[in-house]
Structures are given as C-alpha cells and as structure tokens.
C-alpha cells in the first residue's frame, strides 16, 4: 500500500456523502413507519371527559371511562380523610401526602386513574388490608388515598389532570 492511497480522496468523499445521505433517507422512511403506531388523531381527540358528580353519596365512588381507562371518583367521608392523613410518610413505598393528591378545599374528592401501577389491572374497591383498593391480579394493596402500601406495584395510583368546572361537574383531561 502506498501512502497516496491512504490520503482522503474524491472517492472517500463520495462514499461518506453517499452513506450520510443514505442514512438520512433510511431514517426518513423508518420514522413514519414507527410513528404510525402511536395514538392517532381520533384517539387523541377523546382526551377530555366531563363528569356529573352531584349524585355521589359520601363514602361511595363511581367509575367512568377516560381514554379507554377507568377513572375512580370517590367522595370520601371525613373519617376516611382523617385516616389517609394520619399515615406517616415513612410507611409509604411511594411517599406522597394525601393533601397533594386532592384539590385544595375539595378534600373529599379523590379522582384517580383506576389502574394498578403494576401491570394495569383495575383494582377492586373497599378491599385489601388498608381500607382502600386491592388489585386481584398480583396482590397490590392501596389505601384510602390510592397510595400503594403493599405488593408489587411501584407507585401510587396516578392522579389525572382534572378540574372542577362547577361544584357538580369535573372535567378530566
């Protein structure tokens, strides 16, 4: 091999340029193929739901569907709120104050995604060791604030973005 051949020449430039353009082209084709699997416009369009909560009695809850997932809306009694607030943060695998899981001044309303954070099953209400929810699939126990207490689930049940439109209606999403 002579030294001349190792020097960068026109052919090397052409190779590099071709590979680069080729890679950009392949990427430009692959991305639409991947992104088409993400939620489409019709799915995204279902992103908000309004719910009438006037008929829920204290201590009771309802389940509504939002983006294909159940939302638990529970009107808690003052005992239940007190119970949730008496828990020490050190006892929680995913420490979070009950106050941070509800809207200020609307402490009785717990609105959360009724989806177990383990593998996505719907927990059963008024079950489990902590007076809250129990997931039948793999045995996760949640308390009356929807916080994980025992079992394989890593985090508390998620609080979706929601707001009170008026005192009887909430808008989820």
């Amino acid at each position: 091999m002579s030294k001349e051949e190792k020097k960068v020449n026109r052919r090397d430039f052409l190779f590099t340029a071709s590979y680069t353009i080729g890679a950009v082209g392949v990427g430009a084709v692959i991305w639409p193929m991947i992104d088409q699997m993400n939620p489409d416009k019709a799915q995204q369009a279902l992103a908000t739901t309004e719910v009438d909560i006037s008929s829920i009695e204290p201590g009771k809850s309802i389940t509504v569907l939002w983006r294909g997932k159940p939302i638990f809306i529970k009107k808690r009694t003052s005992d239940e709120i007190a119970e949730a607030r008496a828990v020490k943060l050190d006892d929680l695998p995913d420490p979070q104050k009950d106050e941070d899981r509800v809207k200020d001044g609307k402490d009785e309303w717990l609105v959360m995604l009724g989806v177990c954070t383990h593998l996505g099953c719907v927990p059963l209400k008024d079950k489990g060791d902590f007076n809250g929810w129990f997931c039948p699939c793999h045995g996760s126990h949640y308390d009356v604030s929807g916080r994980i207490r025992k079992g394989p689930a890593p985090t508390n049940m998620e609080i979706p973005k929601f707001e009170f439109v008026d005192s009887n209606t909430i808008k989820i999403g």
């Binding site: 699997m37 993400n38 159940p70 593998l119 719907v122 039948p136 699939c137």
Partner: protein
C-alpha cells in the same frame, strides 16, 4: 454435504436441475445420513413442522371469517363457531393446535437439554430454535387476544404493561404498542396483523434451523460425533420418515382427543365473556405454556425486577452452550448432571403449577424457591457440574459401544431402547 453428485434420471429432470437444483436438494433430504440410534424423542422436529403447517392453514381460513375490530371481533368468533361451515372444527384445531405446538416444542427443547444437542457444533441450531420459540410465544399471545374476551383483553393489558417497567421511556413504549392510551381497537388491529405475519417468519427460521442442522448432522442419544455416511447412519428416507410418521400419528390421536372431546379444557371460561375495560377478572392467568414464566414474574416483589427475571429466564437459554462446561454431550454418560436435569424438569413443572395459583401464601414461597433454583441450574449447576463431574466411559461409535473404553453394554442398550 458429503454425498456424491446427484444426477436426475430423466432428461427433463436433468434439464430442470441444471437450471435450478431443486432435485439435488430433494435428493439431499432423502439420502441425508441420520444416526441409526435416534429414539422417539427425535420425532418432534417432524411433529413441530406439522404443527406449524396446521396453524398456518387453519389460521388463513379463520382470517377469512374473523373481523379485527373491537366491536365485532367477539361476535365474529362466535359467528365462526356457530354459522361458518365447520368453523367450530377449524377454530378448535387452531386454538388447541397452539397448545399442541407448545407441548411438542417443550419436549423438543427438553430433549435437547438432556442429550446436549445445544453444544458445539450445534449452538447456532439451538439459538435459531430459541428465536422460533420466542416468536411462537409472541404469536400465541397475540392470537389469544384476537377473540377479544375478558382474558384476551386483560392478558394483553398485563403483558403490554410489562414494558412500562422500563425506566424513563416505559410509558411511551407502552402507549406506542397500544396505539391508544389503553388496550383498544388499534391494539387489536396491529396484533391481528402481526399474528398473521409471525408464522411466516417462523417458517423462514425453520428453514434456517434445518439448514443449520444439516451442516453437522443430527446429534444422537449417545451424543458422540459419528462419521457420515457410515455403519452408524441410515438414510433419512425411509428409515426416519416412517418413524416420524408413526410418532406423528400418535401425536395426532392425542391432538384429535383434545379437539373433539375437551376443546376448551386448556382455555379459560372467562374468555367467553366479551372484553370489558372497567372490570378485571378476579383471577387472571396466561395460557398454560407461559405459566412458569408468569410464576417467575410474580415471585419478585418489585415490578422492574420481576420483568427482568422473567425475560432473563428465557434469554439465559441463549448462552446455555457457553454455560455448560461439560465436554460430554449426552446426559446418559453424566450421572450427576442427569439428576440435576430431572430436578430442573420438576422445578419448571412446579413453576408452571404455582403460576396458575394465586400469588400468596405457600404458592409465593414455592414460586420464589423455584425461581432461585431455575437460575441456579444455569448459573451454578451447569458450569460447576461440567467441571467436577466424573463422566461414564463413552462408546467409540454407535455400532460398537462395547468394544472400547469399557462402557457398560446395558447402558448402550438402554439408550437404544429409550421410550
């Protein structure tokens, strides 16, 4: 291969073969020298080929009547069962066929584990086989989702949620897999598309699996290298074809027994309830062939840890040829490994059993013990036993197992007569 050049007899055959040597390939497959001591555990390759073809043929027919839409899928499956001519038969063959496919593949894999068929020079055959096994699990899982019953829906939810355990990008990946914010119509659509695709990928891998097999040739119960062709081999046709055909016939009798007498025994009755995203069935279980891995998943009290161990339980098989340090292939000549082998078989069966039970109390304890042993078998037993074990004398050839090395004649006979 080592056979002499094949020349077709007819002029037309020669003309064609010169242009595309398909007849040479055919001749290679019929004359393919096979160890003469192959026992019935070696017939499952043929049985598995039959299973794959059966699934493809019945699947194509079912796709002519099935509707992949969340609102219509459940009804279309019932339509197949009630209205389509012989629809019940074709669907029961397809759904039970999946179970029979896994039954055969597990026997095939455990045969390989016992006789050391995964060892040099057959590592690539083993790895391609595992890729087929992974694709089979993907196909079976997606197929189970298609009827859109309660088990379909919640099975899909749990399995796709496994990916949400991945740090940082887990939720985005799960949403991407769903094409929605939960398992929904887009999920069903793509699963149907992939369920139709995967069997053909498997078919391609089967060709590679057999191709890779035909390079070194079959392993055999004695596990020694043999000269091919020689006194130790017989041509594939008619010797192996007839043996495979007989085994297949017995297999088909069992298969037909399930299809005609207990077509739903391996399924779950909850899957005859249409999918409901608001209610999870009280006790969800995967199909029986995934239960050992499900038990491993549930044995870990941590989400990511459980997912890692579950996938690890499968992926550790890929490095098995390098974890096993023994030079001797067949467990027939490995007195210590042979015992661990059977403990391992029992361990997997136990994991399968506890996988079907609720994850609490004694079942959780058993699942944890079983999981630890599962990994210990590969990480500790395989390398250590291979180094320390004193193996029995190995015969020089299949024909003359007793002449040299002093192997027990009874042992050699035992091998030949196995099953």
């Amino acid at each position: 291969m080592s056979e002499h050049e094949y020349v077709p007899k007819s002029k037309a055959g020669k003309w064609f073969n010169d242009r595309l040597p398909l007849l040479t390939l055919g001749a290679h497959l019929t004359d393919y020298p096979t160890p003469k001591n192959l026992n019935y555990w070696w017939t499952f390759g043929g049985i598995l080929t039959f299973c794959l073809i059966t699934q493809i043929v019945t699947g194509i027919v079912l796709a002519m009547h099935y509707v992949a839409h969340a609102d219509l899928a459940f009804a279309s499956v019932e339509h197949i069962m009630r209205d389509v001519n012989y629809g019940w038969l074709i669907r029961y063959i397809h759904s039970n066929g999946a179970s029979m496919f896994f039954l055969a593949v597990y026997i095939h894999i455990f045969r390989s584990l016992f006789y050391g068929s995964y060892k040099s020079p057959r590592e690539v055959i083993w790895i391609i086989g595992l890729m087929i096994y992974l694709l089979m699990m993907a196909a079976a899982f997606m197929g189970y989702v298609l009827p859109w019953g309660q088990m379909s829906f919640w099975g899909a939810t749990v399995i796709t949620n496994l990916f949400s355990a991945i740090p940082l990008v887990g939720d985005s990946i799960t949403t991407w897999l769903w094409g929605a914010y939960s398992v929904d119509n887009p999920t069903l659509n793509r699963f149907f598309s992939l369920h139709y695709l995967i069997p053909f990928l498997i078919l391609g891998l089967v060709v590679l699996h057999i191709w890779a097999l035909h390079v070194p040739g079959n392993n055999n119960p004695v596990g020694i290298d043999i000269k091919k062709p020689s006194k130790d081999t017989v041509p594939f046709h008619p010797y192996i074809t007839i043996k495979d055909a007989f085994a297949l016939l017995v297999f088909m009798i069992i298969f037909a027994g399930f299809v005609f007498f207990t077509p739903n025994v391996l399924g779950h009755s909850d899957n005859y309830i249409p999918a409901n995203p608001l209610v999870t069935p009280a006790h969800i279980v995967p199909e029986w062939y995934l239960l050992p891995f499900y038990a491993i998943l549930r044995s870990v009290p941590d989400k990511l840890g459980g997912v890692i161990l579950m996938f690890g339980a499968i992926f550790i098989l890929f490095v098995l040829p390098w974890l096993d340090t023994s030079k001797v292939r067949s467990a027939v000549f490995r007195p210590i490994y042979r015992q661990f082998y059977w403990i391992f078989v029992l361990d997997v069966l136990m994991l399968g059993y506890v996988g079907a039970m609720p994850a609490e109390g004694i079942y959780l304890v058993l699942a944890r013990v079983g999981t630890i042993y599962y990994f210990a078998h590969f990480i500790i037993v395989m390398p250590v036993v291979g180094l320390l074990e004193k193996t029995d004398p190995i015969p020089m050839s299949i024909s003359e197992p007793v002449l040299t090395g002093g192997a027990e004649p009874s042992l050699a006979r035992k091998v030949n007569d196995k099953v």
